[in-house]
């Protein structure tokens, strides 16, 4: 008992010593091998944007709230900027627009004729009865070609932009004022961000409006919080039930404490080694490793169940089982996916340390097992080998024929957050996050020409109700046109136009100077996209590789439409599935995990054959494991439609459990006291089922998938392990 106490104290000390220098990482890039640009970023660009809808039926009240909250957020260290309407263009951008007007909205030949110019000048003079003439009037007069007027018209009615009421953005259904917040560039901290979101909601409530938040970071923080709470709930329930089960089975709290020591030692060692090798421990490695180390709980129970020579034999089988499973998982190092490499090492170290601790630790004298002799459930299964082979074949065929692309639920928030987002999306009419159109051109001119052709298709789709709106560069910028008019011709035409409009012909001189200056302007250059904050929205969609200009045109699809119902046939334009890179990433990840785990399984079985000194026994265990995998595959594909990486890793855990049970049940059954082995397997199977059944009921996808797979696999594994190919052998 004293030794047990010392061991617990030593373990606690070890844990306290190791905690300060262990870094837990949740970096999504650690889930990708190679190019990591396909994943959305939490730390830059749109990852820092948050849209806030402040709902209230009264426009004035919600607008007041928006202004007040924006002012309040201006002092917030987590916020870089908070705006409620398009800010005034900077002096520099304002001048740039004016200087480059002939490139941004080039005049047609008719616009340079005196008659057309005269018409523009008359309109410009009439415009001076408009209050806004104080801003634009002079420039409308100075540019009789109408280029500047066209640019301002585009700014006045930008497609897809939020409507404005009294200087504040409004939702499209006119129920909410909109705030746009840019978060400060800080490391992602879910707790900090959730507290910030809650403060913002409280602030809105004080202003009598309801706040709905939309942003990558906010959603990620909410999802993390939800998952943490749900995981903690599942863990607590599972732990309580598990302890109750073990107390009943082992008849002593002290013995239950003893059982947990190897597991705890295994976890601490695994965390320490992984942190030492990789510099941090990824949350996925911790989750996978923690779950798989559940196996380690079985080792001291198997040790306790046996005495004398049988215990020494059990020691050997436990070490062999741990090494087989550990080697199988270590193969994940080959996947080159950082988080999975860590998981492989974590499991090997954790299982081996736990198995060694179980073997080395003295067994408490009061250890006695209560339970059912599992082998009493043994039954005769004729042609077991053929049935197992059949299950393998059906499993492989099901995977080949019916396995679909893996779900991307790993990156999706839980259902209640998705529902709120869908409502908000409808309110704000945001661009589709699934589909966009990529348009390319060798030059900016070619890109704009391609977009102009595409615009006809999109306008047609809007007319037919297949598209709500879209945002493209061509709505703001016209394809460049060659200007054949000389400065002298322009001056002559401008003079004539001023005369025709009943205005002062002498003003033509000022118009000519402005025209000649505008001719010299360079137009839109790639550097302008980063130079002006006003072009940030454009820069996000537009890219220039040096050889190619490309724009990703955002589409706002009609309500209740998930994909575009129109064909894109114009040159250098294609509909793109924005989720495809994530799906591809998940498919690659699944392939890597599956292939490396299978390779690991083969190595593990080689080790098992060497350890048992019997290739035949190892092959029998391998066949049973593969049959269980085949059965699991059929059920998972029938229920979920596709394997996720969590299903696969959980199936590998089933193999680990199966190897252990088979080794203990069949490796000790020639002994006269084999009932003790059968009892220990019964207790272990009971504890595993409790833990994974609770996990399978969790709303957290990772826990649910692992729990459900292990639960199904365990039932299949017990069925096949208890099935005996020869009559009377089960008795």
């Amino acid at each position: 008992m004293i030794r047990l106490l010392l061991a617990v104290l030593g373990l606690a000390g070890l844990l306290l010593l190791s905690l300060p220098w262990v870094t837990i990482s949740s970096d999504t890039e650690a889930l990708i091998a190679g190019d990591k640009t396909a994943l959305p970023s939490l730390t830059e660009g749109t990852g820092l944007d948050v849209l806030v809808a402040l709902s209230h039926p009264q426009v004035s009240l919600r607008n007041k709230a928006a202004k007040s909250i924006a002012n309040h957020l201006a002092q917030d260290p987590l916020v870089s900027s908070a705006i409620f309407s398009t800010p005034a263009p900077s002096e520099e951008f304002d001048s740039w627009i004016w200087e480059n007007r002939l490139h941004l909205a080039p005049p047609g030949q008719a616009d340079l004729e005196s008659q057309q110019m005269a018409q523009r000048l008359i309109e410009a003079k009439e415009y001076f009865s408009d209050a806004a003439s104080v801003i634009f009037g002079d420039r409308f007069l100075l540019d009789p070609t109408g280029s500047y007027w066209r640019i301002i018209q585009r700014f006045d009615s930008p497609r897809g932009a939020f409507p404005v009421a009294n200087g504040v953005w409004q939702s499209h259904d006119n129920t909410a004022a909109i705030l746009h917040i840019s978060l400060a560039e800080r490391p992602f901290d879910a707790r900090e961000l959730n507290e910030w979101s809650q403060k913002l909601r409280d602030l809105a409530a004080q202003e009598n409006v309801t706040a709905h938040l939309l942003g990558v970071r906010v959603i990620a923080a909410q999802t993390t919080q939800f998952n943490t709470l749900a995981s903690a709930r599942a863990s607590t329930i599972a732990t309580v039930l598990l302890i109750l089960w073990l107390v009943w089975s082992l008849r002593s709290l002290a013995v239950v404490g003893h059982v947990f020591i190897p597991l705890a030692l295994g976890v601490v060692s695994a965390i320490s080694v992984v942190n030492l090798v990789f510099g941090s421990v990824h949350i996925v490695a911790l989750a996978f490793g923690g779950v798989l180390l559940g196996l380690a709980l079985d080792y001291p129970i198997h040790v306790m169940a046996h005495e004398g020579n049988r215990r020494r034999r059990a020691h050997r089988l436990i070490l062999l089982g741990a090494a087989t499973t550990g080697i199988s998982f270590l193969a994940m190092v080959g996947s080159q996916v950082p988080a999975l490499m860590q998981a492989g090492l974590f499991i090997l170290v954790g299982l081996c340390v736990a198995a060694l601790a179980s073997v080395v630790m003295p067994v408490p004298p009061q250890a006695r097992l209560r339970g059912i002799t599992l082998s009493s459930f043994g039954f005769y299964l004729p042609a077991k080998a053929w049935i197992e082979t059949g299950l393998i074949v059906v499993g492989v065929a099901t995977v080949i024929l019916f396995n679909r692309q893996p779900p991307i639920t790993l990156f999706e928030p839980p259902q209640h957050i998705r529902t709120e987002l869908a409502e908000l999306n409808e309110k704000l009419a945001l661009p589709s996050s699934t589909y966009a159109i990529n348009v390319q051109g060798e030059t900016l001119e070619a890109l704009l020409q391609n977009e102009a052709k595409l615009a006809r298709v999109l306008e047609q789709a809007i007319e037919e109700g297949d598209l709500q709106s879209y945002q493209s560069l061509s709505q703001w910028l016209s394809p460049p046109q060659r200007l054949d008019t000389s400065a002298a011709e322009f001056t002559a035409n401008a003079e004539r136009a001023l005369k025709q409009a009943g205005m002062a012909p002498a003003f033509a001189e000022q118009q000519s100077i402005a025209f000649e200056r505008a001719l010299q302007a360079p137009g839109l250059r790639p550097t302008d996209l980063t130079r002006f904050s006003e072009l940030q929205g454009l820069a996000r969609r537009l890219s220039n590789s040096g050889l190619l200009w490309q724009e990703q045109i955002e589409l706002v699809l009609p309500k209740n439409t998930s994909e575009p119902q129109f064909a894109i046939t114009t040159p250098d334009a294609e509909l793109v599935d924005l989720l495809a890179p994530i799906r591809q990433t998940m498919t690659d990840l699944r392939s890597r995990v599956a292939s490396w785990l299978f390779a690991g399984l083969i190595c593990g079985m080689g080790l098992l054959a060497a350890g048992l000194g019997s290739g035949r026994d190892a092959l029998r265990i391998f066949r049973t494991c593969c049959a269980v995998l085949g059965g699991c595959a059929c059920i998972i594909i029938a229920v979920y439609g596709a394997f996720s990486i969590f299903h696969i890793v959980a199936m590998a855990l089933v193999v680990g459990i199966g190897v252990d049970y088979d080794l203990i049940l069949n490796g000790m059954k020639d002994d006269r006291e084999s009932t003790a082995s059968a009892k220990s397997v019964f207790i272990c199977a009971g504890s595993t089922m409790i833990a994974f059944l609770i996990m399978s009921l969790s709303e957290v996808q990772i826990l649910h998938q692992i729990g459900m797979t292990v639960f199904i696999g365990l039932i299949l594994m017990l069925f096949l392990t208890l099935a005996q190919p020869r009559r009377n052998e089960h008795q």
């Binding site: 004035s60 398009t86 900077s90 009865s129 209050a131 002079d138 009294n166 002062a504």
Partner: protein, 153 residues
């Protein structure tokens, strides 16, 4: 500076005269200024065309022909709108950043000028008599001017 235009029932009538080198004759607009409940200045134009403009801190909102357009006030015009808003109802003109100006006496009363910096310069000229502000004149580069004369109604 404490002068303010004559207001009747909270309304200040005005006539705006816009001169531009391109024009043969100046353009004239007329209407009233009104202070809204939330302290924004509302310019209600009646001639030659009905129009309403609300001047906010950073935006102007124009309602005309049943349409509403909100425009951000560009930096080059922000001084003019700030001064206009402050001067019409004397709501804190003294709170504006101190600018060098000198009051000059004329036969009709007084004149003072605030020079605008940047964007080609320009200046805002205030004229009045005693504590009555009679006009604000925005003089811009290129011989343009926009004079707002406050009327006694």
């Amino acid at each position: 500076m404490q002068a303010e235009p004559i207001s009747v029932d909270g309304l200040v009538a005005y006539e705006e005269v816009i001169a531009h080198p391109a024009f043969g004759t100046a353009v004239r607009n007329g209407g009233v200024f009104e202070l809204t409940q939330n302290n924004s200045l509302l310019r209600r134009q009646t001639t030659p065309k009905a129009e309403e403009m609300t001047i906010g801190e950073e935006h102007i909102t124009i309602r005309r022909d049943g349409k509403e357009i909100t425009r951000a006030i560009p930096a080059r015009m922000s001084a003019f709108f700030t001064v206009l808003q402050a001067a019409v109802f004397n709501q804190g003109l003294s709170q504006l950043p101190p600018v060098p100006h000198r009051i000059r006496s004329t036969s009709q009363g007084w004149v003072t000028r605030i020079s605008l910096q940047g964007n080609g310069g320009g200046s805002i000229v205030f004229s009045g008599c005693g504590d009555i502000l009679q006009a604000i004149d925005l003089e811009m580069a290129g011989n343009q001017s926009r004079q707002i004369r406050f009327l006694a109604q």
